[in-house]
């Protein structure tokens, strides 16, 4: 019985590692491509404390994404918890989430015809992923919002 449990654990670990790495690579590739494509529209985090820009129209745009850890990342972060230090597996997770959320907001704003996005704010929330297991962030939600002007 114990042997079986260890086998399942190893299987999940390997599955998590390979699928997680695959999804992450594919995601980063798509993020980089879309970031290049949307580079010409500036996004700024200021806007509230300076004079308003010249524009005809302004509208709120929100982009959000929920991104999940994989089994390998979870175990690796649990081990990291014992010794402390940088949890690199989660860093890339949140980086992907932020960039994806920003891109979604930007793409929506560009479809509307925005030539600039002002006062962009980012918000992160941990969502308890696995029911009955409260250790670590099961998944994180990232939202990006800002005002598109045209």
């Amino acid at each position: 019985m114990d042997g079986l449990e260890i086998l399942i654990f190893l299987f999940l670990l390997i599955l998590g590692y390979f699928s997680g790495t695959y999804f992450e690579k594919r995601h980063y590739k798509s993020i980089r491509e879309r970031e290049r494509k949307t580079l010409h529209v500036p996004m700024v985090t200021f806007g509230a404390k300076q004079s308003l820009p010249e524009a005809q129209d302004a509208q709120l745009f929100v982009g959000s994404v929920v991104i999940s850890v994989d089994y390998f990342k979870m175990i690796s972060a649990t081990l990291r918890n014992l010794v402390g230090g940088r949890v690199m597996v989660y860093e890339s997770l949140l980086d992907r989430g932020r960039r994806e959320a920003l891109l979604r907001m930007k793409e929506e704003a560009m479809a509307w015809g925005a030539n600039q996005i002002m006062n962009v704010r980012l918000e992160t929330a941990a969502i308890g992923g696995r029911s009955g297991n409260n250790s670590g962030p099961g998944s994180v939600e990232v939202i990006a919002y800002g005002t598109g002007i045209r």
């Binding site: 999940s68 089994y71 704010r121 029911s131 998944s139």
Partner: protein
């Protein structure tokens, strides 16, 4: 209704302030989606069902904020901010707030 995260509306001037307008909603997860999500927790990647669920809920929070602003007589909400918090296992609160104003 004009919604912005700026302190005003570009091209228009604020003629009247009505104070804070807010809207919130608390949503619980769908059990079926939760099972799918816990599978996805093993392999990683985006949880599309949750993204959609939270997007819908946030839309609702914004609608409630807009409704409150309309009741006050405003035609725009400026300086909007969002917040998310998980209040209980499996439930999340989505909150939107801003300042209701009249612009011309």
């Amino acid at each position: 209704m004009i919604l912005t995260t700026l302190e005003g509306v570009p091209g228009k001037t604020i003629v009247e302030h009505y104070g804070l307008a807010q809207g919130s909603t608390i949503r619980a997860k769908h059990i079926g989606k939760d099972i799918m999500a816990s599978l996805k927790n093993l392999v990683g990647g985006e949880l599309k069902a949750y993204t959609e669920l939270l997007q819908e809920s946030r839309q609702e929070a914004v609608e409630r904020m807009v409704q409150q602003a309309e009741e006050l007589g405003a035609n725009a909400v400026v300086n909007i901010r969002f917040a998310t918090s998980s209040v209980a296992q499996g439930a999340a609160e989505l909150f939107a707030y801003g300042t209701a104003v009249k612009v011309e």
